[in-house]
């Protein structure tokens, strides 16, 4: 169409910015870990002591001296920083010529195995949060003054303040095998489920996924409902809405159009929810014993596995930036003004 700026230059610019941001965040994280003025040997020994590895103080001192004498064991190295950074970054790309060290390779393999489950959980949680959030948000936005509104607002406030691990623990306790026995409390499949016919297997998977997805979706749900509750009444007071009402347009039709207007900023909001999903998945996966990226993050932290921790940070940062780019693309598609004015 003549006059409409094309998509490709904008996309290329955004991709270049994304690459800059990604390099920036990875370099910052890498440099902080390499150059932080902390005593790595003391930290490693403190962690081993907390695990109960040392029978007495002398064993601990001996281990400390040994780690101090050989800095390579705690991850310090003598090569210059840019070279180390490029090596580490290259280990993430499958086509890099230099072979990464076995610890890094193992880290990427574990991450690749755990990522699909986390993606499934996050996608389902975001979808549920969007679906329920849009419905509840539109009801709440236009319900001011009605009897249930204060109760609903109070419930929203409570859900926003409730920590995910508490919600999950209470849900497991009340709905799980300990009390009501309605839903399973852990894992992705019941024992012996591989032998079942596939409809039962799918139902079993659904039953196992219901609670984790609900708990994970609670954070994004609150943000979406709050956003709709704040923005929809404001757009309902716009001049075009008043004109439509004066012309006799039905309230439902009007609300559907207002929601269509709010879809563009909602897409941007949804794209920025990924870091919240990553943080929530750490708690949810550990609570429900699902082997995803969050569970792997806690394992990396408990075992002081530096390559794994950095790999997880890299993946979550790139996923968040990619989600922001996708949401900007959606916003551009949904809101013609952004296309025409840029």
């Amino acid at each position: 169409m003549r006059g409409t700026p094309s998509l490709l230059p904008w996309l290329l610019r955004r991709l270049a910015t994304l690459a800059c941001c990604l390099l920036g965040v990875t370099f910052a994280v890498f440099a902080i870990f390499e150059y932080a003025p902390v005593d790595r040997a003391a930290i490693a020994v403190a962690r081993q002591q907390a695990d109960g590895n040392f029978p007495d103080q002398q064993a601990r001192d001996r281990a400390l001296q040994q780690l101090r004498r050989s800095p390579g064991q705690v991850g310090s190295s003598t090569e210059p920083l840019p070279q180390r950074y490029l090596q580490w970054l290259g280990s993430a790309l499958p086509c890099w010529p230099a072979r990464p060290d076995p610890a890094t390779q193992r880290a990427w393999q574990r991450l690749a195995a755990a990522l699909p489950r986390s993606l499934l959980l996050a996608t389902l949680a975001l979808g549920l949060a969007l679906a329920v959030g849009v419905l509840a948000g539109t009801r709440l936005a236009f319900a001011s003054g009605k009897p249930g509104e204060r109760a609903a607002s109070g419930l929203l406030l409570w859900l926003a303040a409730m920590p995910e691990f508490l919600l999950g623990s209470l849900a497991i306790f009340w709905l799980g095998p300990a009390r009501l026995g309605l839903l399973p409390g852990a894992g992705l499949a019941s024992p012996g489920a591989e032998a079942w016919p596939w409809p039962l297997r799918w139902l079993d998977l659904l039953a196992h996924l219901l609670l984790p997805v609900l708990v994970l979706a609670s954070g994004p749900l609150v943000l979406i409902v709050r956003f709709l509750r704040d923005s929809l009444p404001r757009s309902a007071a716009a001049p075009f809405a008043r004109q439509w009402r004066a012309l006799g347009v039905g309230e439902d039709f009007l609300r559907a159009r207002l929601l269509r207007n709010a879809a563009a900023p909602l897409a941007t909001l949804a794209g920025s929810l990924l870091p919240m999903l990553v943080g929530g998945s750490i708690l949810v996966e550990n609570l429900f014993a699902l082997d995803g990226m969050g569970h792997l993050a806690l394992t990396a932290v408990l075992e002081l596995d530096r390559p794994l921790a950095m790999a997880i940070l890299l993946v979550s940062a790139s996923a968040s930036l990619l989600a922001l780019l996708l949401s900007d693309l959606m916003h551009r598609w949904l809101d013609p003004r952004v296309r025409l004015l840029s």
Partner: protein, 320 residues
């Protein structure tokens, strides 16, 4: 003229939590506030407040000294309002439920829960408040500079905001705490690193609109410097928005500290913060005493709810 939003119960709760957190050793302790032993005054609770070792009358504890004091002696001791300490174990009260003397019950080692709750507010308030203050100062400054003097500074700040936003708080706290040492300072710095972006984004957004106003151009024409313009004229108008952001960030800090302690990491485990109490109490969830997890959970949830309620009220007050 915009009226001040009435903060009500939520604001009162937050104020109470802040005071309790800051003054915990003076409110619930088994050390006296002030005592006169053989004519010499000492202030053990105040010494505990600043982190010094608390003086004791002799080799005995204060309770034993008080019990063995003869009648009519000139020695006296003024106890804090709640005369039980968070570390005083009493085996006979192990796991007891709420009673009249100990309204929140006792934990598995017989320690009084009220005192533990009061002292558990301290790490939460210091960590959250410190992170919000540090992040707020930096964020407001950088956002203001980017909003006033646009150009490459603004572009750099926007990219920096994108970068910081891409990092999840809990993951960074976990990884930072594990590899940089589990001290409160590291956690505070990591939280401040993630909070400054919220403040910067809000201040920059508001200043982009405010900087177009006539009085700003007039002030600049009159030779008012950028710093004075910011501090005296522009930033005071953003009080409401900054307060809203601060409330949300404090709520995030409280919940993040609870999550970290629940996973067993972080310094809260040693200092007995609310999250650590919740972790101990969650073991009791399956058929154990209910008072062990309900009270710390209620403290965490009520504090976060109060933060969100204050932010909502400020926001509706701003909109009018």
């Amino acid at each position: 003229m915009k009226s001040r939003p009435r903060l009500g119960v939520a604001g009162a709760w937050l104020l109470a939590v802040a005071l309790i957190g800051l003054l915990a050793p003076l409110l619930a302790n088994d050390l006296p506030l002030c005592a006169r032993v053989s004519g010499r005054w000492s202030f053990p609770a105040f010494a505990a407040l600043v982190g010094r070792p608390a003086p004791s009358p002799d080799e005995r504890s204060w309770k034993q000294w008080w019990a063995s004091l003869p009648r009519g002696s000139a020695d006296l001791a003024l106890m804090p309002p709640w005369p039980h300490g968070p570390l005083a174990t009493a085996i006979e009260r192990q796991g007891e439920g709420p009673t009249f003397l100990h309204p929140f019950g006792s934990d598995a080692a017989g320690r009084d829960q009220v005192a533990r709750l009061v002292h558990g507010a301290r790490p939460v308030v210091l960590l959250g408040g410190g992170a919000v203050l540090l992040g707020g100062c930096f964020g407001c400054l950088l956002g203001a500079l980017a909003g006033l003097y646009r150009g490459w500074l603004d572009w750099c700040l926007l990219r920096l905001l994108e970068i910081v936003h891409a990092l999840p708080l809990l993951l960074l706290l976990l990884v930072g705490g594990a590899f940089l040492g589990e001290s409160a300072l590291v956690l505070l710095l990591v939280m401040a690193l993630l909070f400054w972006s919220s403040f910067a984004r809000v201040v920059r957004g508001e200043l982009l609109a405010l900087a177009e106003q006539d009085y700003v151009a007039t002030a600049r024409g009159l030779g008012v410097g950028g710093w004075r313009l910011l501090v005296a004229h522009l930033l005071p108008q953003l009080r409401g928005q900054i307060a809203i952001t601060a409330a949300f960030c404090f709520a995030s800090a409280v919940l993040a500290e609870a999550a970290l302690s629940f996973l067993g990491l972080g310094p809260g485990a040693a200092t007995g913060s609310w999250g650590a109490m919740l972790r101990q109490g969650m073991h009791a969830l399956h058929g154990g005493p209910w008072h062990l997890w309900l009270f710390p959970a209620a403290a965490i949830v009520l504090t976060a709810m109060a933060c969100h309620a204050v932010a909502d009220r400020c926001r509706s007050g701003l909109r009018e």
